[in-house]
Amino acid sequence: MTITEESGRVHGYADLRRLMGLMTGDEKHGPAATSTLDVLWVLYDRVLRVRPERREDPERDRFLLSKGHGPMAYYAVLAAKGFLPVEWLPRFGAYDSPLGHHPDRMLVPGAEIGSGSLGHGLPIAVGTALGLRAQGLHGPRVWTLIGDAELDEGSNHEAIAYAGPTGLENLHTVVVDNSSASHARPGGIAARFEAAGWSAAAVDGRDHEALYAAFTAPHPGRPHVVVARVEPKNS
């Protein structure tokens, strides 16, 4: 891939909305389009040990975007961090663009999985965590991002109920909660993980320091979930 001047320059958080605008032709985004933006930025900027030149390194951290719907924030962060050229963004969704409305790991550099159908990322993350452990790779951490309504899918609950009792410590989940589930109870998200033996934290999904603290909190012997609350989708 040719690293152009645009791609090569260092982008910061302040550039993300402009990068998203390259995909949508719009500098303004409703909260739903950016519900994952701060979570993704803090993860890629400060937490995940992965860089474009380490995309194939077995020791890298893995981030699996399960909530593949509305991936503009994800592509913007990947572009800002140099995984993919900024020049790809304006052709978002075009026939021969690598960037679809749901990401495809076979097309997007840095994408660990293809997603779009809900409820696949967490079970695959469990397998990834098990595979690393089986190979004696105890350094890499596995992260997956799901949405609060995505938790409706039963496949997540198969994964949650297995990962807790088996103490899958290298597994991390962040649930971006924009109150989009039709049927939910207050506090229900963290409670479901905690009932299965996970370490859990709930924070303001727009507060970078709070996110960082929750992402890096120790959780010996247990998988860890961070519920990142953002403004309701339909507010």
Partner: protein, 303 residues
């Protein structure tokens, strides 16, 4: 005689010893056979509980880290229940796994329709790039399991059954093999239905091809056989009738031909009983097969 499934745990346990890439994922069913392997390889023998979506998702995750996962449960819970995981977590992610099923089309007739999966191969046919092995004998199952695990990162389905031929034949994990030569038609017998087909076609002037690897479909072998005999083809499959009719038609697209697809009927029988009773009900016993094959060939083709 032991069953194909009796060979699964010993064969895969040896592969676990031999190859550090190999991992086994179970969903409770079949875990007892792997107790010793679990002690030796606790990180690579995984039982996820009664969670079949997770079974396939975990297999995909293991494959993404470079491992060679072997997933096992009954066919209905391995292919049908988590079909979207098979489609997306393996195919769409570009990773492979070995799926080994048991119970086949009606291995447990008293268990009823919930434990029958005659449509498994037809379902996999909607996806790209699957190899499908249907052994006809426990020895063949062992060989084909080894081929499946050794097949790089391919997507491979191995369909084990309690139904079996009395005698094992050589299998190579690839094409169809002629076991009888004739001139009036070609009968393709899949896996455990070989011996019923041989009995049914006794004295008929037909070629019998034995198929244990049915996907990819061995079009070249069928073309060779039909070039030497007539292009009248009967497919006898131990799963949904007609599953391979399209593949046979494609193989013979440029020559006039006829194809009859025999196999397990689509209609739910709502009967229990024995395997033999279900085989007869689906017209797959030797006497019914002879009648149906002779009828297709025009009646009096007996030599």
């Amino acid at each position: 005689m032991d069953t194909m499934r009796d060979r699964l745990a010993p064969t895969v346990s040896r592969l676990l010893d031999e190859d550090p890439r190999v991992a086994v994922v179970l969903a409770e069913i079949g875990k007892d056979g792997f107790a010793e392997a679990l002690r030796r390889h606790p990180g690579r023998v995984l039982n996820v509980g009664i969670r079949e979506q997770l079974l396939v998702g975990v297999g995909a995750g293991l494959a993404l880290t470079g491992m060679r996962p072997v997933l096992h449960t009954f066919a209905s819970f391995l292919v049908e229940r988590p079909f979207e995981q098979v489609k997306l977590d393996l195919g769409h992610q570009g990773v492979g796994a070995v799926l080994v099923s048991a119970a086949a089309s009606y291995d447990w007739p008293a268990g009823g329709y919930t434990h029958m999966a005659p449509g498994d191969v037809a379902l996999l046919d909607t996806l790209d790039g699957w190899t499908v092995h249907v052994p006809g004998h426990p020895d063949e199952a062992e060989t084909l399991l080894r081929h499946a695990v050794a097949a790089g990162d391919d997507k491979v389905y191995v369909r084990l059954s309690t139904q079996s031929n009395a005698q094992a034949r050589p299998v190579d994990g690839q094409g169809f093999r002629p076991v009888r030569e004739g001139r009036s038609a070609v009968v393709v017998a899949v896996g455990p239905l070989l011996e019923p087909v041989l009995a049914a076609t006794e004295g008929l002037d037909v070629t019998v091809l034995y198929a244990t690897t049915v996907r990819p479909f061995d079009a070249a072998a069928l073309r060779r056989a039909t070039a030497a005999a007539r292009a009248d083809v009967v497919l006898v499959e131990p799963y949904l009738a007609g599953t391979s009719v399209g593949a046979a038609n494609d193989a013979l697209a440029d020559v006039p031909h006829r194809v009859l697809g025999l196999g397990v009927g689509r209609a739910e029988l709502r009967r229990y009983g024995t395997v033999a009773e279900h085989t007869a009900a689906h017209g797959l016993d030797a006497r019914s097969l002879r009648e149906r094959i002779s009828g297709f060939l025009g009646g009096g083709t007996a030599a």
